[in-house]
Subunit: 432 residues, 2 copies
């Protein structure tokens, strides 16, 4: 099948975009609409699709309800080439998606042999539990679909076609959905010739969106309509993403030159051109140097340690951490002097310096991070308002300290502190 | 204005539902469609609306693009009474929402005096920075809207009306959006008589969705069409939510009786009937008992401590924590014996017992939690596969241990371990 078949009627008036393959993601589940669950699935799917060169046009969250599912499909079919549906496939009676798809595609329910064998295997060999009739229902699918087996669970992925659209229905359990995405991308790649979408991202800090926009006003005019600059406020940082759909080497080079210019314009506010999570960057640096890091945390309460250990293999460079929430523990476990606490207070440059020395000694690590601050909502004063944080990074021999002021709620203050502390550590490691 | 005005044509054929006030949430931002950002805003908004008695029908994520915004508004206006739009209001040129709304509502841009005064105040008094022309643009709004000032930032909320719908446009910065929601709810409450939506939630563990569904098959038939039972798989737990829109005391009582029955049916799998985050429940229990807790964490790397300290006021009952990622730190800081580690391995009942005794002593706390496990993807063996975790909770005098097996990816294994450990602690505290 030729790719152009799918372009008919889609942005035909814009030759730049004719090669665009677009998608809609439909997430199904009442829990999304009452806010009980944050939808991480569609973000994961978007990321994977985007990397593959598929443009996600819309994401729609609806109830697990026949009328809503039909309405959403009616609106999207023929508008995009790819529709991914996630959720509503559980074996329980609050999940009506499979039956709805069966009716929608004028099909009938059949037992799929491969799916049945898979469910049996899963229960007998992996879960070591006996099958009940509800489990067996997972092997039933509309006759009109192709089945893609779900290695991580019992509900299979179902692939349908209608008009100009391919429709994939996936389970809503993140772990299972994530395991199915490579198979779906394989099917999409077989069908479509995909363009290359390139994103260059840089991370800034210490400047707001509108101030940075004022600096970049001329740059934004210069890059023209082919590239796009996005401002992405994050935790304590502001990301800039320069994107373009490139058709060849020349366009790719142009985008790279534009990004070089952007870096220069960001000047001192630039803290990284690597959009990899900072905890992963640090992990790689420490592995390469064969050095270790430990954390001494007051206000972040273990959040920095949990970021570091979210990276697989962290045990190679992370011996451990002390969360010294009380002043007493700062003294007894980390060796902060009572006189320092009394003279300067727990949120002070002097205390984070002593916490850092203490943790490096206690954990016998090469480097350390120490933080102390007031995360709110209570605990602030005129001299040290909520959001005041002192951070120290360094080694037994050399320590760098920095004071921050965050003005968010408790959760964001904690996360922002952790991220800025790790970026400070990254700079230190680059120079060490 | 009478409420019934808004019901015309909306589910008129279903008298049960006539009093339903419904909403659509439209989130705007290219970063959502490429998966760079997980949308937490719409979950927050849904939760607030749901609590108020407004039913969220659909959530739609679209690009910051005129055509897409118009298309979404065309599709939703008159379908729901309330439309909340978030995002796309930044002062930079990748944000086109405000201009689009101005055109859509056939209005013209004007400087709003209150908004201008607010922006000036914010920059001069709070940020202590000088205003630039980009900031000033935040005070420009379509003449057709009412302005609701944003106490937490410079972009105001804009309120429009069209057909049977009220449309609110809010900034996408979570902190600012969250600050505006109470004002918006105030406006909605003035306009509509809202029904009462009641949810009863219980938390189970140790049983899968399909097995629990088999147990609850008859119960689901019994509750009839007025109530709804939802299965919500979470981290290491499975929530059951029984919901109904109730019109009076009698219906409220009936739902409560049904929930009592559900609790009985859940039997030993029931671990909590309180849907409050477990870290908050524990905080309240410890405050009441005037006792303290400390954590000794290996595989969770500080995640349990960071959950405990995410609760404001945790310093009253949390002195601190030791993350003993390496065996060496287990010995030197927590006092785990070398012989125990050698004989039983780091992931063993004996080691978590010694970690618990060590942390309680080190932190001088009343209670402790200790965990050690293999979170993957590496590190598993035939005897101790990835997902094996030992947890100990207790005091210097009494310790309870439990072994878990999780079968997720690293991130979910860590989160599941932390949640199950805290629920185990909760049970211990209930009996202590």
């Amino acid at each position: 099948m030729s790719v152009t078949y799918f372009y008919d009627g889609i942005k035909k008036n814009n030759p730049e975009m004719q090669k665009e393959i677009s998608a809609t993601i439909i997430t199904i589940g009442n829990e999304l609409l009452i806010g009980q669950v944050v939808d991480t699935n569609s973000a994961f799917m978007s990321k994977v699709l985007n990397k593959t060169g598929v443009v996600v046009k819309r994401k729609i969250a609806i109830a697990d309800n026949m009328a809503e599912i039909k309405k959403a499909l009616d609106a999207e079919i023929n508008q995009v080439q790819i529709i991914l549906i996630t959720g509503g496939l559980g074996p329980t009676s609050d999940d009506v998606t499979k039956q709805t798809l069966c009716t929608y595609f004028k099909s009938e329910m059949v037992v799929n042999k491969r799916a049945l064998q898979h469910v049996k295997n899963l229960y007998e060999k992996v879960y070591k539990k006996s099958l009940n009739p509800v489990n067996l229902k997972q092997a039933e699918v509309p006759a009109a679909c192709k089945v893609i087996l779900n290695k991580r669970g019992s509900a299979p992925c179902m692939q349908f076609e209608k008009g100009r659209s391919m429709i994939f229905s996936l389970p809503g359990v993140p772990y299972e959905m994530e395991g199915l995405m490579p198979d779906i991308i394989g099917v999409i790649r077989q069908r479509f010739q995909l363009p290359k979408v390139i994103h260059h991202t840089l991370v800034t800090s210490g400047i707001g969106e509108s101030e940075l926009a004022a600096i970049l006003k001329d740059f934004e005019k210069e890059i023209g309509p082919k590239a796009e600059l996005a401002y992405l406020p994050g935790l304590g940082v502001l990301r800039l993403r320069l994107s373009a759909t490139v058709m060849g080497r020349e366009e790719e080079d142009r985008l790279r030159r534009q990004f070089q210019k952007l870096k220069k314009l960001a000047g001192d506010y630039l803290i990284s051109t690597d959009d990899t999570p900072v905890e992963e960057i640090i992990g790689k640096m420490l592995n390469k140097k064969k050095k270790t890091i430990a954390t001494a945390e007051s206000c972040t309460g273990g959040f920095i340690a949990s970021m570091i250990t979210s990276v697989s293999g962290a045990s190679d460079y992370f011996p451990g951490s002390v969360v010294s929430y009380s002043n007493n523990i700062k003294m007894t476990v980390l060796g902060v002097k009572a006189s320092t606490l009394k003279k300067h207070g727990a949120v002070s440059e002097e205390v984070v310096r002593e916490m850092l020395k203490g943790i490096v000694k206690r954990m016998k690590s090469d480097y350390g991070v120490a933080v102390s601050g007031i995360m709110g909502p209570g605990g602030g004063s005129a001299q040290k308002p909520v959001g005041t944080v002192w951070v120290a990074v360094g080694s037994a021999r050399k320590v760098v300290t920095k004071k921050f002021h965050f003005r968010f709620d408790r959760r964001r203050n904690i996360q922002s502190t952790a991220i800025r502390a790790l970026y400070l550590l990254k700079s230190f490691l680059e120079e060490a």
